[in-house]
Amino acid sequence: MSENLVSLRDVEVSFTSGSFKKTEKKVLKGVSFDIKPGEILGLAGESGSGKSTIAKAILKMVDIKAGSMERNTNHPQMIFQDPYGSLNPAYSISWIMQEPLRMSTKLSAAQRREKVALMLNEVGLDESYMERKPGELSGGQRQRICIGTALMREPKLLIADEPVSALDVTVASQVLALLKRLHEEKHIAILFISHDLRTMYNFCDRIMILRDGRIIEEGVPKEMYKNPKEEYTRLLLKSAGI
């Protein structure tokens, strides 16, 4: 049995707002789960249930108030929901994709460009995209670039926060197919955050349902979709039209 990539135990996260009269809002109320190497774990729930906060907690972008988070992997990467905001508009694709290498390796400019070219091929684009700016690309192309950039540091864990909900259906399925292929080729674990139970059915090995900062149900898609234990899960499935 291999070690878990990430394990969360009773993690609580809360945000405070207001500078004089501090109001505290608990977003995660004791979340526990593990991410095993090489699995695709789905995380579903309505907006405001704390899905993105779990992602941020794993990436250490928010402080964990209580509980513990253990990470056995360096620099997990993330793909964001909005492909229009997640690429720096001031730079070329080549510059953006080289940045992770610039930070973590001592490769020469030519070597970095070579790696970028390889990665572009892997995400289904070609070298002609190198000198383009993000503004010239479509949403699907941008999301491919984001995936490519995230993979530059060869992460063991990729967090995909609603990666296809801003894309139209055909492009979305292409991007999902790309994620699936990269997952199989490189054995990357993916934490797939979504509100769309339909796409998750085929895509995920395991699904967790999040509600109000708690995980209320967890299981393999086939079984969970057939007879959900929780009323809330049933509701979600129904609203997804399953």
Binding site: S19, L59, M61, H75, Q77, M78, F80, Q81, D82, G85, S86, L87, N88, P89, A90, Y91, E99, P100, M103, S104, C146, T149, A150, M152, R153
Partner: protein, 269 residues
């Protein structure tokens, strides 16, 4: 070159660039030569009207106004450029740190900023000059400090806006440090806004320098600056109106040129 022209085909930008270009060229020429010596007095030419020998006429000491305007433009430009440079560099540093980190640092620096901001910049410059003493360098320094708050404020709000975008988080995930994120990832994206506020700042600096020299605490005589010439000219406004008119026109042209440039650059972005 052709491509460049096509890209920059907007009226404001071209007019602004033309006016500023001509003025800068004149300043450049004045470094090497002016039609007459800028301090040479001549009793015969006292209050000479504009003519072919003295294009802009002569002042109360019989000095050639065109020559003095050329020299004055140089001084005014130099002070304005340095002022804006000081304001921008420190404004960008303070503003981006506040906007990026937020929290206590932001609160403290921005409250200090508010205090400075609550003075009119000329008044603040006057206070600083009264501490430092007069002279070209001190005026520049004083105006520069007085200009920091407005730049800091603009940069802060822009950086804050950029911080909410995912590419900033993405940069952190790439392994970039805070300083690199601020100055390499975010700064290029606020350049358009910064650029147009630099242009507007330059205008304000020209006017502020003219104002300070007009009050007698900028450039010291016999050196010329546009503001000082205006203040000297006011006593002879009716006997020799050209003495005030020509430096005034040059100030207006400078401000107009840079305002159009600023407008043009914003349009392009």
């Amino acid at each position: 070159m052709k491509k460049w022209f096509k890209k920059h085909q907007n009226f404001n930008f071209i007019t602004g660039a033309a006016i500023t270009g001509i003025l800068l060229f004149t300043v450049f020429v004045s470094i090497f030569a002016t039609p007459y010596d800028t301090t040479a007095m001549s009793v015969a030419d006292k209050f000479a009207k504009p003519s072919f020998t003295h294009w802009m006429g002569c002042d109360n000491y019989g000095r050639d106004i065109l020559s003095r305007v050329m020299e004055g433009m140089g001084n005014t430009f130099l002070i304005a450029v340095l002022t804006v440079l000081i304001g921008t560099v420190f404004g960008v540093i303070v503003g981006s740190l506040c906007g990026y980190f937020g929290g206590l640092l932001d609160d403290i620096l921005m409250r200090i900023n508010d205090v400075l901001f609550s003075f009119p910049s000329i008044l603040l410059a006057l206070v600083i000059i009264s501490l430092l003493g007069t002279g070209r360098l001190n005026v520049t320094l004083a105006l520069g400090i007085a200009f920091i708050p407005s730049f800091a404020r603009i940069v802060r709000s822009e950086v804050k806006k950029q911080c909410s975008l995912d590419y900033v988080k993405s940069a952190a995930l790439m392994g970039a440090g805070h300083i690199r994120i601020i100055f390499v990832h975010i700064l290029p994206n606020i350049m358009p806004v910064l650029l147009s506020s630099v242009m507007i700042g330059f205008n304000n600096a020209v006017l502020a320098e003219a104002g300070l020299s007009y009050l007698g605490i900028g450039v010291q005589p016999p050196a010329a600056s546009l503001g000082r010439m205006l203040s000297e000219a006011q006593s002879y406004l009716f006997t020799a109106p050209w003495y005030a008119i020509f430096p005034g026109i040059v100030i207006v042209l400078t401000v107009l040129g840079f305002a159009l440039l600023a407008e043009g650059t914003t349009e392009e972005n």
